[in-house]
Every structure is written in structure tokens, then in C-alpha cells.
């Protein structure tokens, strides 16, 4: 019988180890579990899920440009101003004025406190902007290249001086999140940061769960929800299942082919809005054959943009009418390129390529929804005019390296005008000095610089209109479609508005 005991002992060890580990996970998981159980009671607990996890809560770090980080930051921190359609509404800043073109003076509210009870003052604003400008790893530091100085004149007054007039100042400020000056430089601060926003951080595991609880003392009124959990469910099938079964209350980034299925579910409503996200296919204008404008235009005439967008994207996207999405400041409608393969062939022949040519197209797998299908459809149309595409799907890291080194013929990607202002993309990507796609045009440079430095919005709109026309007519790239922000929301959730930047505020959301 001793031998039986040995076997038994051995199995016991396995069971013990396994159950011990399971304990760990259920302990750390209780907070999220509680959130989903609470839905049946009167407690206002909401769980949402996205396909891309929140990497970091640091609004000055390398993840700052990521929509997931901006979403989290919108709940935890405040900004000086908030963009509301085409205008700006006060938030931390009660009012602002411009004594001269290079100076902005902001007057802050005096009743705002951080989650730990300390007062938010002009010093914190200065420290936050200083930190953003100094951090080398932030992709948004460049927005502030013209910054001269920022001073805390007194507790409620901030003076920002720029080297040249900065037309997009207010847009940039919508991405400047304020953290407490004396704490934000500490090493572990962003593991569980504090801000002044409507929600406090309860716990945060990168790319897993962010658990937030209501800030009852919020200066703009306590949020209606008691807590919010933001989960990460990368696999589409799992995420769609979770919203259908009610495991989660809302999710976004819905594939076009799933929308109809979700619409049939009476417990789910679909909320959408045009977004700041769009696709472009750039040509490397510094190399043959794309140094010839006729070739670039031919490529555009060769594709049936409307058919591609309708067939592949359905309700999730619209055909683009300018090099920037329609929801962005600086948008102006351009003449569409019609589908005309004959004209395309003729243009190619004029440019000296009567039999077409072979060219390499790069893209990164995770760059946007259905990028693989879009690439295939484009290649199919180009094949018909004799342009053979060598597809080159790259890993993100490699793609970025090739892209920035201009080591490509064509580049398909999504892009976002995160600040909501044309300068963010047009001003940075199409200026000759940046040399992002090999296209150089002094007239365009002049327009873009003038638009950046003007603080008169009517004048800026007019300058961007001209810039749009040049980029569009010269076919620096093909701009096929702008994506919509689409949210699938359980019907008992009220007040969740889709936001073009992909970062809706949960402040006004409630559960019936």
C-alpha cells in the first residue's frame, strides 16, 4: 500500500500547486469580478472593453499619443480647455486672453483640488507643460516646438509665451493633462497616479484592467457612476461575445461585418460619430516612378474608392473628401477622383509607363481595421492597369523604421489628427523640411507655416483650404476613407457619447 501513497502524494502536490496559484488569480481578480456582479444591484458600476490595452497612464510619456492612454487620461486628469465641436469651452481655465500674438494668459479656477485633497494651482500647470516639453520619448513634444516660456504669474494665472504665434495653441492644450507638480516626477507615480478629474485610480495593470472610482468632490459635479473598469479584450470574437452576453457594458472598434449582428440584439445600441482617424496610401515622391505627378494621379483614377469603402467598410467609414478628416479644423472639400481606369492608363502612358511597373507597398498588420483587405483590394485594382504590387507586410517596429527612413515605394497606414487641428498632420507631415514622403513644394511649405503662425481662425481655415487643394490635386497620397468611431453600448447605459478622438468622457454616464 505504500506505493499507492506515493502516487497519491504526487498527485496531491500537483493539485496543491495548482489550487495555490488559482488562489492568487482570484484574489487579484476580485475587484473586477465585483464590478460585473454589481450591475444587477443599484450600484452604478460600468465595465467597458477595448481591443487595444492601456499601456500607461503617463500623459507625458511615449504612450501619450495612444488613444487608449488619452481615454484614461480624460477620466483621471483635467485639461485647461475642452474642445466642443468647433469651439473651446473652459475647463480648468475660466478664461483666457492674448495680450499680443506670442503671449497667452490663462486664468484658472480656484476651487479645483487633486484626488489627495491638495489644491491645483498655476504651478502645477507650469510643471506639467515643462514635463511634457522635456520628455524625449513623447511623440507629442513636437507640438510645443515653438514654446518660449511658461510662467505661473500667481496661483491662478498662467502665462505662456511662444517664439512665433501659435495658431493651434488651444488644440494643443486639449492634450495637456495636469498632474500635481510635487509628485509627478516620482518614479512610481504613474502606476497609480492622481489628477483632478472625475475619476480616481483604484488599480491599474498595464494592458489589462484599469479600475476607476468616482471622485465625489469633482469641481464640476460628482460623476453619476460609482466606478468604471476598462478592460482589454484583444480578440474580436471574444469582445463581441462579451458585449452580447452583457459581460461588458460598452466596447468600441467594431468591425463592419459585426455591426448588423449587434444591431439585431435589442439590448445593444450602436452610437457613432466621424472620427479623427483615417487611412492614407502615400507615394514616395522622391523616387521613380512616383516622382511624376501623372503616375500618382493615375494610381488614384485606377481605384474605385466608393466601391471599396462601401463593400469593405460599410457603415464604419466614409469616403474622404480632403487629405484630413471632415471633423478636423482646416477641412475643406475637394473634387473627388472618379474611377476611370482608361484615364489612368493614359496618364501612365504619358508618364512613360505604358505597360505599368512593379512597386513595393509596405504596411503594418495592426495599423488599422481591415488593413489587409483594403491592401488586397487596392492591389487588385492597380493590377488591372498593369501596376504590379509586391506586398510587404511588416511588424510595427520594422515598419516604423522603414517609414521614417523613407525606405519604401508606397505606404498604407492609418493616421489620426489627435489634436483635432490640421496643423497636427498637415503642418508636420507635408512640410518639405520633415521629408516624410519625399514630396517637396515651397508654395505648400509657405501656406503651412503661415497657417501655423496665424491666430486668426478664419485666415487659418482659408490657408488650409489652399494646402488641402495642393496635397489633393498633386496626389501626394491617396486618401481613401475616414473611419467612424463606433461604440456598441448596452441599452441601459445613458449618456455615453461617441467622441471623434476615441476618448469619450464617462463623467455624465449613468446606468438605468
Amino acid at each position: 500500500m505504500k506505493k499507492v501513497n506515493l502516487l497519491f502524494l504526487f498527485l496531491c502536490i500537483f493539485v496543491l500547486i495548482a489550487s495555490g496559484c488559482a488562489g492568487i488569480s482570484s484574489d487579484s481578480g476580485t475587484s473586477t469580478d465585483g464590478a460585473s456582479e454589481g450591475k444587477t444591484s443599484k450600484e452604478q458600476k460600468m465595465t467597458v472593453a477595448s481591443d487595444v490595452g492601456i499601456i500607461s497612464l503617463d500623459p507625458y510619456g511615449s504612450a501619450h499619443g495612444e488613444p487608449s492612454t488619452i481615454l484614461a487620461a480624460t477620466q483621471i486628469y483635467d485639461t485647461l480647455v475642452i474642445k466642443d465641436g468647433d469651439t473651446f469651452t473652459p475647463s480648468l481655465a475660466k478664461e483666457w486672453k492674448q495680450p499680443d500674438d506670442n503671449t497667452w494668459v490663462f486664468t484658472l479656477r480656484d476651487d479645483v483640488t487633486f484626488h489627495d485633497g491638495s489644491k491645483l494651482t498655476a504651478k502645477d500647470v507650469k510643471a506639467s507643460l515643462d514635463q511634457l516639453v522635456q520628455r524625449k520619448e513623447s511623440p507629442l513634444t513636437v507640438l510645443w516646438a515653438q514654446l518660449d516660456s511658461v510662467e505661473a504669474t500667481d496661483d491662478t494665472t498662467v502665462t505662456i509665451k511662444t517664439k512665433t504665434p501659435l495658431g493651434n495653441m488651444l488644440y494643443n492644450l486639449t492634450l495637456l493633462f495636469i498632474t500635481p507638480a510635487d509628485q509627478a516626477t516620482k518614479d512610481d507615480f504613474f502606476r497609480k497616479p492622481i489628477g483632478s478629474g472625475p475619476f480616481k485610480v483604484v488599480s491599474f495593470q498595464p494592458e489589462q484592467d484599469l479600475v476607476l472610482s468616482a471622485n465625489k468632490d469633482y469641481w464640476n459635479g460628482a460623476p453619476k457612476l460609482d466606478s468604471v473598469t476598462v478592460r482589454n479584450i484583444p480578440e474580436t470574437a471574444a469582445r463581441m461575445t462579451a458585449i452580447e452576453t452583457g459581460e461588458i457594458d460598452a466596447t468600441w472598434t467594431i468591425p463592419a461585418d459585426q455591426i448588423n449582428q449587434l444591431k439585431q440584439n435589442k439590448d445593444i445600441k450602436i452610437v457613432d460619430t466621424p472620427s479623427y482617424f483615417y487611412y492614407f496610401n502615400w507615394f514616395n515622391s522622391s523616387q521613380k516612378p512616383f516622382d511624376d505627378v501623372r503616375v500618382r494621379q493615375a494610381m488614384w483614377y485606377a481605384i474605385d474608392t466608393k466601391a471599396i469603402v462601401n463593400d469593405l467598410f460599410g457603415d464604419t467609414a466614409e469616403v474622404m473628401k480632403a487629405p484630413i478628416p471632415s471633423s478636423v479644423f482646416g477641412f475643406s472639400e475637394q473634387t473627388p477622383y472618379e474611377y476611370n481606369p482608361e484615364k489612368a492608363k493614359q496618364l501612365l502612358a504619358e508618364a512613360g509607363y505604358p505597360n505599368g511597373f512593379e512597386t513595393r507597398m509596405i504596411w503594418s498588420k495592426g495599423s488599422g481595421p481591415q488593413i489587409f483587405e483594403l491592401q488586397k483590394a487596392l492591389a487588385s485594382y492597380w493590377d488591372k492597369i498593369g501596376v504590379k504590387i509586391i506586398p510587404d507586410q511588416l511588424e510595427r517596429a520594422e515598419w516604423i523604421e522603414k517609414l521614417t527612413a523613407l525606405d519604401w515605394n508606397m505606404d498604407l497606414q492609418t493616421n489620426a489628427v489627435i489634436s483635432g487641428d490640421a496643423d497636427y498632420t498637415l503642418g508636420r507631415l507635408y512640410i518639405s523640411q520633415a521629408n516624410r514622403n519625399g514630396y517637396k513644394n515651397e508654395q505648400l511649405d509657405d501656406l503651412l507655416v503661415r497657417a501655423k503662425q496665424s491666430t486668426d481662425s478664419a485666415q487659418r481655415a482659408q490657408l488650409y483650404d489652399q494646402a488641402n487643394k495642393i496635397i489633393w490635386d498633386e496626389a501626394v497620397g491617396i486618401f481613401p476613407l475616414q473611419l467612424k468611431q463606433i461604440y456598441a453600448v448596452r441599452s441601459n447605459i445613458k449618456g455615453l457619447e461617441a467622441s471623434p478622438s476615441g476618448a469619450p468622457s464617462f463623467h455624465q454616464v449613468s446606468i438605468d
Binding site: L11, A22, S26, Q208, A237, T241, R396, L403, T404
Partner: protein, 308 residues
Amino acid sequence: MANYLIRRLIYSLFVIWGAITIIFMVVRVIPGDPAAVMLGSNATQEQIHALNESLGLNEPLFVQYKDYLLNVLRFDFGESFRLGGSAMAHVLERLPFTFTLAFTAILFAIIISFPLGIQAARKPNGLMDKVISFVSLFGQSLPTFWVGIVLILIFSRLLGILPSAGSGSILHLIMPAFTLCLPFIGMIVRLVRSGILEELRQGYVQTARSKGLKQNFILYIHVLRNALIPVVTVLGLLLGEFIGSAIIIEVVFSWPGLGRLLINSILYRDYAVVQAAIAIIAGIYIILNLIVDILYGYIDPRVRMEES
């Protein structure tokens, strides 16, 4: 015995050194650099260069390697570029989840395959044997990610009895653990089957039979224990594979384990996290094998004799 343990220890250290050195080299050979990924597609070459400078990635490779080894000796794997904070802390935070998943999967595998293996061995090449080997082969013939998705659709969407994603309760564990163990069941069933068959040929079984002991009794008591030896060995070896397959399962089921962290860290060139994770996985692999060896000697005294 002490001599043997010391030899094993030195050898284990050598394997760990090899693993962390190879990983150091490989992550640096992969095209794409961390600064470019961090700054995103809108960055300029100057920005990328400045960031690489401040990350210390412009130093000669040898200098980086020297610093790396010295820090590793202090169990310091550096800071995560992407997530911020200590790389090892991130790895250790995720490790228990992957462990839970892997151990549950092994438990499932044992619970499922032992009875199957015993049944199959009762009548070798009989109908039951054929059915069992078909089922277990079928289990390993489909990609796990696909099986996982189908399970989600059936058990979460259609039947609504299991949660589709995430962690937090035993229920969350069932589908990922089952998906993970599926490809290994066939192998274990076969090990159990052949182990039993081989044991049945041994003299002591014949003796026991001639004494008139009931067949079931012989099977369970004597034979199983000896048939366990190859299974234990292979399970020890397989834990590495379990963790490897868990990488994919974790993505499908949003299980917050090490695998997802590792994949994303590789994709984003987060060197420190990749190095820390590999060091941990290699370390676990070594320790497990040591345990397997000891267990092995415990189950089969003959081994102890040979070692000493």
C-alpha cells in the same frame, strides 16, 4: 550526491547564461529600434536619435552587454521602455497568471488522459483503443487559437455558461486551460498506454496474475506507478511548451499572463522586459527539470542507485 548536485548547479547556471546572452543578442538584431516604436509613425529621425541616446542604446554593443550582465547579477533587468517601471516587476506580476493557467492545464491533461490511456491499454488495438487515439489525435490537429475562438462562440455566446474573456474566477480558467491542454492529451494518453503495456509484460505482473489477483488491482497499484515515470519526465519537459502555447491562448482569452506581455514586448522592442521574461522562463525550466529528476529518483529507486 553532493557532487552531482554541484555539477547540476554549475550546468544550470551555464544554461541560464546562454539563454540570457542569446536573448540579448537576438532582440538587438531584430530590425526596428525601440525609440522609433515609442515615438510612433509621426516622429522625425532627429527625435529618434535623441531618444536612443538617452536610453543608452547608442553605446557600443559590448558596453551594453557588460552593463547588462553586471545588472543581471544584482537581479536588475532595467526599466521597461514601454510600460515604465522595473521590467522584472512587470514580469513577476504576470507570472502567477501564466503559472495558474499552465498548472490547471496540466491537471486537466492528467485528469483526462489517464483514464483514457488506461482504457486504451486494456485491449490494445481494440475498438476503444482506436477511438481514443482518434479523439486524442484530433485534439492536436487544430490550431489552438481557432479551437479557443470556437469554444468562446459555443460556451459563451450560444450557451452563455462561461465568461468569454479575462480572469477572476475558476470559471474564467476553464476554457483557456482546456484549450491549452488539448494538444498535449494525445501525447500523454500514448505515454500512459505504452507505459502500461510495457509494464504488463514484466515478470511481477505475471506473478501477480498467477497468484490470482484481480486484474484491476494489479493495473492500478503496480503498473500505474511504474507507468508514471515517463509521464512525469515528459510533463516536466512539456511545462516549457505549455508556457509557450500559453502565449497564444492568453491572447485569445485575454488572460493577463506572461505570454501577452512577452509578445507585445517583442513587437514593441521593449528589450528589458523581453530579457527579464526569458531569464525567468529559462530559470523555471531549469528548476522544474531538477525537480523532475528528484521526483524521478523518488518514484524509481533504480535511478538513485545509478546517480550515486
